[in-house]
């Protein structure tokens, strides 16, 4: 039994005394949908894992951001991505908590860009710029997905990601066209982050399905937006993106990230919240 109402869980004597609150925190509760086959579930898992892992890396900035306003902004972006992750994981037809908390690193399907360890604030800005520019371009096309639920999730995500990309782009310009030190740090961040962007455009077999978007088709838009931002930021063109690795291959950073993300759920498997 699970409760989504903290008071119901505290009383511990079942939900009979409550007129409401009988454990239904499914973010897609009541949404009409066809069961997801393996291919659709696999695709939703990929997009959901990208958002979940990226959200966790952003959450690591909470209490560490340079300004209170940025802390709030980063937390908001992380919350949007967590919401997208919940919707996408729920669309797989499997239990979202089971997927988030009880899979090991090898079973995660996120891109490596989302999982690499954080660095300084410039590193955050460059990673978020690449991630949100790519994801916005993918989600914008996914609004036309043959799966109506996925199309609806994408339509919501587009509105959110537009704000995320603007946030990262404005900071990229401010830091790149800022002081000598901030410019130097942005160049260093580009060198560190950019090798992982090659993965973003490598087509996974499932991405040629009619419900999916082939990420290779968003490459031109991505390059154009990045060139516009880096130009305004007086930064040079990014370094070579390097060699793409397929989804499912991870860096050593994912395991310790999951250890933290999953620690409470695994230590207290019976807990409800």
């Amino acid at each position: 039994m699970s409760f989504d109402n903290v008071y119901a869980a505290l009383t511990g004597d079942g939900d009979a005394r409550w007129a409401f609150g009988t454990g239904f925190s499914d973010p897609l509760a009541g949404v009409e949908m066809t069961p997801a086959d393996d291919a659709l579930a696999g695709y939703c898992l990929m997009l959901g894992d990208d958002a979940l892992i990226m959200s966790h890396r952003l959450q690591e900035w909470i209490t560490r951001a340079p300004e209170l306003e940025d802390e709030v902004a980063i937390a908001n972006i992380a919350l949007d991505l967590l919401g997208q992750a919940r919707l996408l994981l729920a669309r797989t037809g499997r239990d979202e908590d089971e997927l988030a908390f009880h899979r090991d690193a090898a079973e995660f399907r996120n891109v490596r860009l989302a999982e690499i360890p954080g660095g300084d604030f410039a590193h955050l800005v460059v990673r978020l710029l690449a991630f949100s520019t790519w994801r916005l371009a993918v989600m914008d096309r996914l609004r036309l997905s043959s799966d109506t639920v996925l199309a609806a999730i994408a339509a919501k995500s587009v509105k959110e990601l537009t704000y995320h990309r603007d946030y990262a782009a404005r900071w990229a310009v401010r830091l790149g066209d800022g002081t000598e030190e901030s410019h130097r740090r942005m160049r260093r961040a580009l060198d560190e982050v950019w090798p992982y962007t090659a993965d973003l455009f490598a087509t996974d077999p499932v991405e040629s399905a009619p419900f999916a978007v082939d990420p290779a088709t968003v490459r031109a838009e991505f390059d154009q937006v990045i060139a516009e931002v880096l130009g305004q930021a007086t930064l040079p063109a990014p370094p070579d993106a390097g060699r793409a690795v397929p989804r499912g291959e991870h860096t050593g950073a994912l395991h310790p990230l999951l250890e933290e993300l999953q620690s409470v759920a695994r230590a207290l498997p019976e807990a409800t919240w």
Binding site: D4, N5, A19, F20, G21, F24, S25, P27, L28, A29, G30, V31, E69, D70, V72, A73, A75, N76, I77, L79, D80, L81, L82, G83, Q84, R86, L87, L136, A137, D140, T148, V149, A151, A152, I153, A155, K156, S157, V158, K159, E160, T162, Y163, R165, D166, Y167, A169, R170, V173, E221, Q224, V225, E228, V229, Q232
Partner: protein, 166 residues
């Protein structure tokens, strides 16, 4: 017989938003359909943002209010399409936001043809809900909740929330 419920809808429309208690869910535009079949009611609501943490509370409040009014079986469903827009906030909702010191949203941006354009500087305007001055500046596009941005009035110097256009 399933009908578009008048009484159940009237009751559902009195439920307020957990984070903006000045506004009802109907005024916020998140209350969609209410249908009634005997003592069974089905209500559909839509999230403002994907990660909106208030959805569970909204649903509990709707179930609580409707069961309190005598409906035995109340189901609250999520609906995602069409996505919520700040344009769905009603006129009375906008007045209540302003009265609560939150600048109401302007029209949601129109989607141009082609790729979504990048916005490298603040473009939105909002009048100060305290003194009415239009000389205000954006502090951050992200505020205390997902749906609000933070602004500052250059005339009366007070900070204020601005309901974001999406």
């Amino acid at each position: 017989m399933v009908t578009t419920a008048t009484r159940a809808r009237e009751i559902a429309e009195t439920v307020t938003d957990p984070e903006l208690p000045q506004l009802t869910l109907a005024e916020l535009g998140v209350l969609r359909e209410v249908t009634e079949d005997g003592d069974r009611v089905v209500v559909s609501i839509t999230p403002t943002y994907s990660g909106c943490p208030a959805m569970d509370t909204m649903r509990d409040d709707l179930v609580h209010r409707l069961t309190g009014a005598g409906y035995r079986d109340v189901e609250v469903r999520v609906t995602l399409s069409p996505p919520w827009s700040s344009d769905h906030i009603t006129e009375s909702g906008r007045r209540k936001l302003a009265a609560a010191g939150i600048a109401p949203p302007g029209p949601a941006p129109r989607r141009p043809r082609g790729p979504i354009p990048l916005t490298l500087g603040p473009t939105r305007r909002a009048a100060c809900p305290r003194c009415g001055s239009t000389d205000t500046e954006e502090v951050s596009e992200f505020g205390a909740t997902a749906c609000k941005a933070l602004r500052r009035c250059r005339s009366c110097r007070e900070p204020f929330d601005h309901f974001k256009e999406i």
